[in-house]
Amino acid sequence: MDRLINNSSDSQDATERVAADPSKQIAQLQRELEISRAQFRAIINKTVDGVILLSPEGVIRFVNPAAEELLGRSLDGLKGEVFGVPAVPGETIEIEILRPDGPPRIAEMRIVETEWHGEPAHLAALRDITEHKRNEEEAQEAVRRRDRFLAMLSHELRNPLAAVVSAAHLIRRCPNDRELLDQANEVIERQCAQMARLLDDLLEVSRMLKGKIDLRRECLNLVNVVEEAVAAMIPLVEQHQHRLTKDVSRVPILLEADPARLHQILVNLLTNAIKYSPRGSDLHVSLSRDGDHSAVIRVRDSGVGVAAESLESIFEPFVQLDHTLARSDVGLGIGLTLVKQLVELHQGEVTAYSDGPNQGSEFVVRLPIEDEAPDEALPTERELDKSALRIAVVEDNSDSSSMLRSLLELDGHTVLLAEDGQAGYELIELQRPDVALIDVGLPKLDGYEVARQLRASRANDGVYLVALTGYGQPQDRRQALHAGFDAHLVKPISINLLYRLLTERHASQPDDESVPAEDEA
């Protein structure tokens, strides 16, 4: 504060000017003092650290706005309260602030000795480190969880390894016992498969946690995915002597999704249900449509259940249910993490329900589905025979375009090829095909630009433009539609979905007056 007064640059000149008149001199000094006070107040009021001035007995004399905020009380309410004599000056210590409303805050407190109105005082500077501490605790918890996981991993890998080593010994000692050799072989195969599964899970989770999983979406029938997953689990169900019942929709439920990932979701949930239920339990799987926009898969077991406080955390990596029941074949505690991540990648959600330990549990997966319920399943290739079309394929990858061409020609369509954007534009402009499948990443002129230029002329209105992209995000679809495409397919394209688009296109054409009639095949 002294420095503020002495350093005032105008102070010297002003003092000389008013030196002759003592009253002016006093007024000048008062003005300077006022300025200096205002500066001091501004510094104290604007500093982000809380500042508390305490009497030698620990009684609060002053707090700045940051300290008012931290303590959750106003200066008026705090003045005269006993905060306490702070710890040894110079030390930085942590204290927890008790606020009248809301949770406590953690602060770092530093003390310096000072004066206040001529009396000795303690100045306590408080820095809010609540957020920092929370992050630190979360990081520590993550490390603890990872340590537990590593311990679990080595245990889980050691078990199958021990069996493999025993089998190897057997083979060496009884090289002529056919029956024993077969048995040892089976053990090795089974245990290696188990290890491979553990390692796959592990790699998968690490990719997932780094956000490195891409979905290969295609239009599929969820009913088939569920039926296939259930069928794949039958041997494990039988091994545990469970009774598995299912109630799966008879009407196809269509959605754009990655079939391998959906399979993984179901297999993980079913595996959990099987493993965490005592031998001979009842398991139930159901799939139904819920309104126009979502499908619901339920996997219910009558097993170990989940305590209420764990219902949310079981989806976190490396958290495991109590697995005393199935000690011989527990996983790594990452199955449900995978499920959650995969469901969320499909814009869905998964929830766990349980009435408590040993009350069984139910996992409910809700997935968004295509808006309209189609009356029938996807058209087969045969149904399209009578609707042969002229189709342009604009694609710079010659393997992709020749495969696509062969498939389309097999169904009687006429295919025209172009390998870059400029050639594609000219081809379409000249030939006016019924459909043009255009890769968006093309040399010379990208696919979006091809669509824009084609759409600039009404003469091309009759050409059904389909964008082929490597990305399935909503914004990619929007970008394609915005450029003038009629539809958007993610590569590798599903031939079924393409046929569905073509069928829809074919069905809609007679009503569409803008389509030039001579182009109809």
Partner: protein, 118 residues
């Protein structure tokens, strides 16, 4: 009634506060053996008690008796600081046996373990 009566407000989930409880207990055992009563209050469980004593932060130590009441805040209490706060420090700075200055009010007084209100 013990000569010294302390209330120690801590947040039990905080490991540093646990050390404060241990440190203070051993200090009392060493310097005030048989003459003190230490009550530990976990503010997580007994917030009302903290409000009643107008405690603003933890850890806070209140010396209720002998008067005047004194309050220390923040955990780093050096034995020397505690002794001087309690009016027990000698010129040389060494900690004398508590009995040299403060005699138990009751001759039959026995050492007391800290009472925990948790």
């Amino acid at each position: 009634m013990p000569t010294f009566e302390f209330l120690l407000f801590v947040s039990a989930k905080n490991a540093a506060d646990q050390r404060v409880v241990e440190g203070l207990t051993s200090f009392c055992e060493r310097h005030l053996e048989g003459q003190y009563k230490l009550t530990v209050v976990d503010v997580q469980r007994e917030r009302g008690e903290a409000d009643r004593h107008r405690v603003l932060a933890t850890p806070t130590l209140i010396k209720r008796h002998p008067l005047p009441e004194q309050r220390l805040v923040g955990g780093v209490w050096e034995p020397q600081q505690l002794l001087s706060s309690l009016g027990l420090a000698t010129e040389s700075g060494s900690a004398p046996p508590a009995q040299s200055r403060e005699r138990p009010t009751s001759p039959g007084l026995r050492p007391q373990a800290p009472e925990r209100r948790e």
